[in-house]
């Protein structure tokens, strides 16, 4: 049920709040997905060789990923301001929510169970667009409904569902279960579908394959309380490690590219975002 101005219905908001995620089908048409894929391919081709060399050197298990906010991918960069992305996000997190991340990912393997954020007061929300069809055994995102809220959120940590540094999962090892056996909603999708989820929701993907593609648009809520401010500062500290931990391929560029920061069309929304990202230190953390 898509409303004309792309705002969510009351029931969609309830779904997001109750289960921690929301699926919207066919938000982008075939031509738009074609354009995203074209930009994705062109940029990926320009960084692939460097990524492979770097991976061999560091024996990395990571995947090629980069910021969308670069001149090579102008259509993808502008999607943050597309009402299909920003309107529902503002409805769910407040009009003063800010996009902190906008990434393209070319995964190579499965993604084990994890929440993106462990902080519980500051709110993070991710919009994901998969650029290829997905099914349960072919790369679909899986989400554990309601796992953004405790007790379920904490219990999944307690039983050891989160992979250790060695990428092993205690609960799966001890139970003899596979990641696929953990009960979850499977987001079987066609290109153009969007899933929006609370970053506290536990998620995973199995049936991974070479060049499994998605674009993600991650927003944080504007902190209101001292606790939220503390958590946001901690997120800024985490952000400093992101370039290193994800080995992002920014080809001598910066996460928030100067072309994006210049805001050539004078978007008021982007100007507000940039001011906020600068104030809280994300630009410094991710661009250095």
């Amino acid at each position: 049920m898509i409303q004309e101005n792309h705002s969510l219905t009351e029931e969609q908001v309830q779904h997001f709040e109750t289960f921690g995620f929301l699926v919207r089908r066919q938000m982008f048409n075939t031509e738009e997905i074609g354009r995203i894929n074209e930009e994705f391919e062109n940029h990926f081709a320009s960084i692939k060789e460097g990524f492979e060399k770097n991976s061999e050197r560091h024996e990395s298990r990571n995947w090629p990923n980069w910021s969308n906010l670069i001149p090579n991918t102008p259509y993808m960069a502008n999607l943050l301001e597309d009402p299909r992305i920003c309107v529902p996000t503002e409805q769910l997190q407040g009009e003063d929510t800010v996009p902190v991340y906008s990434n393209a990912n070319s995964f190579r393997h499965n993604t084990n169970w994890h929440p993106d954020m462990r902080h519980r007061h500051i709110r993070g929300l991710k919009n994901l667009v998969y650029l290829q069809p997905t099914t349960g055994d072919h790369g679909s995102l899986r989400l554990i409904p309601g796992s953004h809220i405790s007790p379920l959120f904490d219990e999944l940590i307690r039983i050891g569902l989160r992979p250790t540094d060695k990428n092993e999962t205690d609960f799966l090892t001890e139970s003899g279960m596979r990641g696929e056996d953990i009960p979850a909603y499977i987001f079987c999708s066609q290109p153009g579908d969007v899933v929006t989820f609370n970053m506290n929701v536990w998620h995973a993907a199995f049936g991974g394959y070479e060049d499994r593609r998605n674009c993600s648009f991650g927003f944080y809520s504007n902190p209101k309380t001292a606790q939220e401010e503390d958590e946001l500062r901690a997120q800024v500290e985490n952000a400093k490690d992101i370039r290193t931990s994800l080995k992002m391929d920014l080809v001598d560029s910066q996460y928030y590219h100067e072309a994006w920061l210049e805001n050539p069309e004078g978007s008021e929304k982007r100007a507000r975002w940039i001011k906020w990202l600068d104030k809280w230190g994300f630009i410094k953390a991710l661009n250095n």
């Binding site: 029931e11 554990i144 409904p145 309601g146 219990e155 009960p183």
Partner: protein, 281 residues
């Protein structure tokens, strides 16, 4: 992972506690399932002859503890059923309810109980293969606990007793669209779930069969005891609504001819709490 003595592993107990259910595969053999289906067939045929045709019943269902289905009745005392139930609820838990069901359609979203002080586990066996669009039980993992349990009530998902779901109507969603785990099963597989867990089944069909074995935790605290008294009253109403044919505790079963001490304890408890009087009259 079935252990030789049928006891649950620590990881299985954690799974049950965290997600509110546990699946155990191939607990019963094809021969055992065949025996159950044969008894089921005979009882369903005789029940159709017995039942009052003017009575509008939701679906054909009858208590397992009757002399026409001795093998199905005996499963309450099978360690594959009572062993794991006792592990989850305590050794003094009691099988209060055990029915055979022949559904004619889908089952909409509902929990069996909303009471936070009752701990009740339902063991369900499907006697035919099931898939997501062919009668599989669906459960919303973790929905036995608050706040998720109550959030689902608040948004209006509940379809108990034939109610229409306000949430599905207003959202335009189908019951199948609600995020859940679908227990795709083969006969012999078994699912145990906390009866506060929200569940449903879609892709229903004529004579969709289950056998259920419901154990209640023996109440200890004042709140638990009060809730058990309330449950007794709910039971009286449900029998009429569900159109269960026959006595839940047949005299044949209450006679306990083999003097099974476990059954003896169960019978004493069921009498003491008033379930024999409530469910047999």
């Amino acid at each position: 992972m079935i252990q030789e003595n049928y006891s649950l592993t620590e990881a299985q107990i954690q799974h049950f506690e965290v997600f509110g259910y546990l699946v155990r595969r191939e607990v019963f053999s094809p021969e055992e399932i065949k025996k159950m289906n044969e008894e089921f067939d005979h009882r369903l045929t005789s029940l159709k002859a017995e039942a009052d045709p003017s009575e509008d019943r939701l679906f054909n269902n009858w208590p397992n503890r009757n002399p026409q289905t001795p093998y199905i009745a005996s499963l309450l005392e099978d360690p594959r059923i009572y062993g794991p139930s006792e592990q989850l609820l305590g050794e003094d838990c009691v099988p209060v309810h055990s029915n055979a069901n022949s559904y004619a359609k889908s089952s909409a979203w509902h929990p069996d109980t909303k009471d936070i002080h009752l701990l009740m586990v339902k063991n369900v066996m499907y006697l035919q293969p099931t898939t997501g669009d062919h009668g599989a039980l669906r459960v919303i993992p973790g929905s036995h606990k608050n706040p998720l349990h109550e959030s689902l009530l608040r948004i209006g998902l509940d379809c108990s007793f034939g109610k229409e779901s306000r949430y599905l109507k207003d959202s335009g969603l189908q019951g199948e669209d609600i995020p859940s785990y679908a227990f795709c099963s083969q006969p012999g597989d078994l699912i145990m779930f906390n009866q506060r867990l929200w569940h449903a089944a879609f892709g229903g069909y004529e004579d969709r069969r289950t056998c259920t074995y419901n154990f209640y935790k023996n109440p200890k605290s004042a709140d638990e005891k009060e809730s058990m008294h309330k449950q007794l009253e709910i039971t009286r109403k449900n029998i009429k609504f569900l159109g269960t044919v026959g006595q839940q505790y047949h005299p044949w079963w209450l006679d306990n001819p083999e003097a099974n001490p476990r059954r003896e304890r169960w019978i004493n408890w069921l009498k003491e709490w008033g379930f024999v009087e409530a469910k047999n009259n």
